[in-house]
Symmetry: C2
């Protein structure tokens, strides 16, 4: 299965979320799966790629900043963000980036 | 160990490299490690984050597009890119993105 997001031609936005988990992972997996499902229903969502080892990187792709802002403020997502900050992540960093160019193989 | 890159205040650039490996991984690990070492010596390099499961995501951070262009054309890196394209990756996608904002916890 190809897990690389099939995004349209640039420009579009990427939200790069890098994180370390804490010891407390109770409820994490179910919420993470639910957030992917919920994100995919949002206007402006283009795709997501996610990998976790010791470090986790999740990159979600969006048409524009307004879509990202709305998703950040989604009520169910806000509850998940609070749990993430309080319980699941010992540290994280979020970067909002404008994708200017992309290329792939096979094209 | 915190594997989240300690990047400066935006703006700066991110190169998001998403890939699936092929069956042929001979020489891959050594070259991948060498490329991280070599990238870190380049002008404009700010940091790198890398995770692999079925999907691999490597995000490298750079001060500007010119640094990214020079790194892409580095001779040793070009050899690695050729091996990657011919042998190690069944598919990949590279995205060049301008990081406009970031935030973290703990700050």
């Amino acid at each position: 299965m190809n897990l690389i997001a099939k995004t349209p031609a640039p420009p579009y936005y990427a939200v790069i979320f890098s994180s370390h988990q804490s010891e407390d992972s109770a409820g994490y997996a179910a919420t993470a799966a639910r957030m992917v499902e919920l994100a995919a229903e949002q206007p402006g969502f283009l795709g997501v790629e996610s990998v976790r080892e010791e470090l986790g990187i999740t990159v979600s792709y969006w048409t524009d900043l307004e879509s990202i802002r709305r998703w950040k403020q989604n009520a169910e997502h806000r509850m998940a963000q609070t749990s993430g900050m309080k319980k699941w992540y010992s540290s994280y960093k979020t970067r909002i980036a404008l994708v200017e160019r992309d290329y792939e193989n096979p094209a």
